[in-house]
């Protein structure tokens, strides 16, 4: 089965950052068809939908759009951008321009978002943890997780763990399991440890170009100190940035998200499966691994290889997958969005998963375990559905828990 890749090229996600004055020029080929607005999961609660916003800016009414609720409601699911017949940069261009305009005017921002950006500037992670503690999670991994600056030799694989998998307890557990899987596969890997900082993605989407560029410049400098054959990442957001933006800024690496990386090693993985899981699993295509980079098949290949797993598809899957509602820093805007929308995208998504009669909602993005587990509770589906990262399901079958 061929993968239907959305037509995303590095040029299309060039870290050009159209300030609001450039939007009319950038959107000159907008035919006002409204596919973006009709596709947008947040469109119904936006004061001005993307189509309308683009037209208003072209008509000199940018100020109205900047002071509306529109700038902060885009979750950067990219449904509009991959469907746009004129291939316009909507979450990657229009919305960052609107958000940077809000920031430039010094308007008060949502405090959770401001804190996340400030923390990322100071500590390289949005939760404001000390960078020195980035590798703390490895202490209970049960397998060696070498830090590249300490082993002083080239490695095959540099694993960029990213912020949530390094610091958030729910995700740390998943990181430890991936370490065990890599160890079981005999992969020669290391992590950056205390030198790792946010790779950058949501900063750009949030309109914080300076912070985004600062992170990338610093990360390229750190990466240039070490020798490795390829990079793997736990976070699809980091994956898309390393894939599309880093090469343009001088950092070209061979980079893979863990799901395609492990799917390539299926032959090695299969004999290691010990336990039959006997579960119906539905897989949530995250926006960054799905629409933005076209990896629909590898996560499913991995899940289907696990003994006893039966795959069920949700009503919106693959290219039309529904976002968890946390992209483009909206993970820090839950309260703002909840006050405006009648339900949360994560709640809607969990209801779609329950409708498949699957017992497990499988994910491959570190935003999702906590977002969907919360949604499972909020929608009263604790008896019916559990949320598991693909890594957890693999580790369970491999007896690596």
């Amino acid at each position: 089965m061929g993968t239907m890749r959305p037509q995303i090229t590095p040029e299309k996600t060039d870290p050009v950052f159209p300030e609001i004055a450039q939007i009319p020029e950038l959107f000159r080929t907008c035919i006002q068809c409204g596919v973006c607005s009709g596709s947008c999961p947040m469109g119904e609660v936006m004061d001005f939908t993307p189509r309308k916003a683009a037209k208003m800016i072209a008509d000199g009414r940018a100020e109205e759009v900047v002071s509306s609720n529109t700038p902060w409601l885009c979750v950067a699911c990219h449904t509009c951008q991959v469907r746009c017949p004129s291939q316009l940069l909507i979450p990657d261009g229009l919305f960052p321009a609107l958000r940077s305009a809000v920031m430039a005017e010094g308007k008060p921002m949502e405090q959770d978002l401001q804190k996340a950006l400030q923390n990322t500037y100071l500590y390289g992670n949005p939760m404001g943890q000390s960078p020195r503690k980035r590798a703390e999670w490895t202490k209970t991994a049960g397998v060696p997780v070498p830090i590249i600056s300490q082993i002083k030799r080239p490695v095959d694989v540099l694993w960029i763990v990213e912020c949530y998998p390094s610091f958030e307890p729910r995700n740390q557990e998943i990181s430890r399991k991936l370490a065990r899987i890599l160890n079981a596969l005999g992969v020669d890997f290391a992590i950056l440890g205390h030198e790792e900082r946010c790779i950058g993605d949501c900063e750009w989407l949030a309109g914080e170009r300076g912070l985004y560029e600062m992170l990338i410049e610093r990360n390229i400098e750190i990466l240039s100190k070490y020798r490795f054959k390829e990079i793997i990442v736990t976070d699809p957001h980091a994956y898309r940035t390393l894939l599309n933006a880093y090469p343009i800024l001088g950092g070209a690496y061979k980079v893979k998200h863990f799901a395609p990386f492990l799917a390539e090693r299926l032959g090695q993985l299969k004999p290691l499966f010990k336990k039959k899981l006997n579960a119906t699993v539905t897989y949530h295509d995250s926006c960054c691994l799905g629409r933005k980079t076209g990896h629909y098949d590898e996560p499913r290949t991995l899940l289907q290889a696990i003994p006893g797993v039966k795959l069920a598809e949700m009503i919106q899957s693959r290219e039309s997958s529904l976002c968890c509602g946390g992209g483009a820093t909206t993970i820090y805007l839950d309260r703002f969005i909840q006050e405006r929308a009648k339900d949360r995208l994560a709640d809607r998504r969990v209801q779609q998963a329950v409708a498949t009669k699957a017992e497990v909602l499988a994910v491959a993005c570190p935003y999702e375990p906590s977002r969907f587990e919360d949604a499972v509770k909020v929608t009263g589906n604790e008896e019916k559905l559990v949320v598991r990262d693909i890594i957890e399901l693999l580790a369970e079958s491999m007896g690596l828990e």
Binding site: M103, G106, L122, Y123, R132, E208, R209, G210, L211, E213
Partner: protein, 256 residues
């Protein structure tokens, strides 16, 4: 109307703080400095007054820690002038010394208002604002959360917090020193691109000041909070734990 804001550097607790071998001081190699949180509020309150009443905002920092970056950030936020006070100190001095230093710098500079955070996490010898007001012979109001300028009458109306959720509105004759508890809105965000631009083009003025003699503060022992004993850990299902908590509260007559 001229407002001075005093911006102090304090150890960043996120990065952790270690005590040195003497047991009397913080190990300077373990520290990274950041702007004291309430001084950030003091700056925000000054900038709000600038927007409302065309006040001129000038920010002063001692040359310690990341003071230069703090001052650039203040310029990026809208301060009119930023000054680095150089006294040859490597780490932030105690508050008596700091207050005397700032007093020598601000004396005769015709500021109607001087703002500082009402406290900082490394205060060992009182609040900077009160000490400074003493040295300058000016009135002082602490725990301020709102400031209005009363026209041309040389007065400010300030809202001061009291314990128990009370607040009072006070009229203060200017010039005065205010210890800010919270600005009327959270401190504003500076986009990094603007900060970087200001770092290239902005001007941090430098002003030398000789280190004054202040009452010496002798630290006998500095230590991290010691772990208390006697905590009871509750275990069981959430319902059981909830029942146990309810029982304990009721035994101690904390339930009505």
């Amino acid at each position: 109307m001229k407002i001075a804001v005093l911006a102090k550097q304090v150890p960043d607790l996120v990065e952790g703080v270690e005590i040195d071998a003497s047991g009397k001081a913080v190990d300077p190699t373990s520290i990274r400095y950041i702007l004291s949180e309430l001084d950030d509020h003091a700056l925000e309150q000054a900038l709000l007054l600038k927007e409302r009443s065309q006040a001129r905002v000038e920010v002063f920092s001692l040359e310690t820690g990341e003071a230069r970056e703090t001052l650039f950030a203040a310029l990026a936020k809208g301060a009119d002038r930023v000054v680095m006070v150089q006294s040859g100190q490597e780490s932030p001095p105690d508050n008596h010394t700091t207050a005397k230093l700032f007093a020598s710098v601000l004396q005769g500079s015709a500021f109607e208002l001087i703002f500082t955070g009402v406290r900082a996490l490394d205060d060992l010898d009182g609040s900077l604002g009160g000490l400074l007001a003493g040295y300058l012979g000016l009135p002082y109001v602490g725990l301020v959360r709102k400031v209005e300028l009363a026209g041309d009458q040389g007065k400010a109306i300030v809202e001061k917090e009291y314990p128990g959720g009370y607040a009072a509105e006070l009229e203060v004759e200017l010039p005065a020193v205010l210890g800010i508890q919270a600005a009327e809105q959270p401190p504003r965000y500076v986009p990094v691109s603007r900060l970087r631009q200001v770092m290239k083009t902005g001007n941090v003025e430098e002003q030398a000041a000789s280190l004054p003699s202040a009452p010496p503060l002798e630290i006998e022992r500095l230590y991290k909070p010691e772990e208390g004993k006697g905590a009871t850990m509750l275990s069981g299902s959430p319902e059981e734990v909830a029942r146990q908590i309810a029982n304990i509260l009721s035994e101690r007559r904390l339930l009505r």
